[in-house]
Amino acid sequence: MRNFLLFIYRNHFTFIFLILELVSFYLLVNYNSYHRATWISSSSKISGNIYNSYSNAAQYLTLEQINEELAKENAYLRSQLPSSFKDSKDYFSLVYDEHNKQQYTYRSARVINNSVNKHFNYITINKGSQNGIEKEMGVISAKGVVGIVKDVSEHYSSVISLLNTRLQISAKLKDKGFFGALGWNGVDYRYAWLNEIPIHALVTVGDVVVTSGYSAIFPEGILIGTVEEVKKEKGESFYKIKVRLSVDFKDLSYVEVISNNMKNEQLDLESTNND
């Protein structure tokens, strides 16, 4: 026993090294699973506050551009559904179903942290559970799809960006209706790849790619981008389509979080199919 303790003492440097590496590795691997330690995500209180005050300061430099963007968005929304506005800053409704019951609610939020240069990019926004944001809500900007909410704290949420190789979104060609899975390959932040479009579909450069609405996260028909290049590999029965994203992820200031009020109904119904 004494010798053993002495052995540990003599090699304590290596042992501490191994223990710390194991802890790191545990965090790293655990991170892949759904139930990972949420305290460490950027929606946690301290880092959220720091990012918030930084973005408050940095925002003054881009106010003009943000104003312009917001004005454009206002005009776009007004032209779409003038009657559905409610007199509130960050809460208005856009889409109604046939029973006049509101299906999608939109909440605006400000981006306070963002990256495009990693393999797994995340965005932090300044609204959280207190503002009614929940996990797995869709996030869009005025120009198109941005990502899906991953973690929520009281005042902040972190969003899996579309520029994250772990995220796949159900997308379709707007005119033809063929649908497939859209994902990013980790290389260029301006382009994503749309797979699973069968080769008998007629795809031309410039076709518009939108959300399919099958996933209960995004409503149908939200812009994702346009077809930039169509590839067909020998022996494959699907195209590989390069899509130019409509959202400029380097220039993202305001986003909207979509909550689907009938999501649970759809998911409950769909879960019975698996039996």
Partner: protein
């Protein structure tokens, strides 16, 4: 030793904030990603005990992780780098060994020594970090390219900070 402590605490916070708020936002052609916070480990005095070195490396790494949503990634790479620091220092020690009262800096041990020291540790750190980030060897060459470009950028910034240290010491 004790009177240097506040300096190290301040530099810890400055480096972490610089990394998170400035360098994490540098996106040059999608390849360059300087990770300057490792300068904190470079700066630590020669007589820092091994366990302290590792624990400090872990703390710096996990702090950066906290801000960039990557639990474990930076801490893994930084602890790995810190592990190699003592043996590297032994391997490249000058003929008359390290003098008491000096720190591992450009000013105290010269350009060639400092270049060897920083290049080796930066490459260890960046290689571990970028391969963990990709988690996959199928992007080997694009990852290698990122490691090289980012290391060069990190080293340039670290050398620039050393010039400031140089000036400050000269004045005394």
């Amino acid at each position: 030793m004790i009177n240097r402590l506040p300096g190290y605490i301040i530099s810890f916070f400055i480096l972490v904030l610089l990394q998170v708020l400035v360098f994490n936002n540098i996106q040059f052609s999608g390849y360059v990603n300087p990770y300057v916070y490792i300068l904190f480990i470079f700066m630590l005095p020669f007589e820092t005990p091994g366990y302290m070195l590792l624990i400090l490396a872990f703390i710096v790494g996990i702090t950066i992780d906290l801000f960039s949503n990557t639990p474990g990634m930076h801490s893994f790479a930084t602890v790995l780098m810190a592990f190699f620091r003592p043996s590297l220092l032994r391997a490249i020690s000058p003929r008359d060994d390290y003098q008491p009262g000096t720190t591992p800096s450009l000013h105290d041990y010269g350009f060639a020594w400092y270049l060897k020291y920083t290049v080796t540790l930066t490459l260890i750190h960046h290689t571990a970090l970028f391969f963990i980030e990709v988690y996959d060897f199928s992007y080997f060459f694009s990852t290698l390219w990122r490691i090289i470009l980012s290391s060069v950028f990190t080293l340039i910034i670290i050398f620039i900070t050393q010039l400031f240290v140089f000036k400050k010491n000269k004045r005394r």
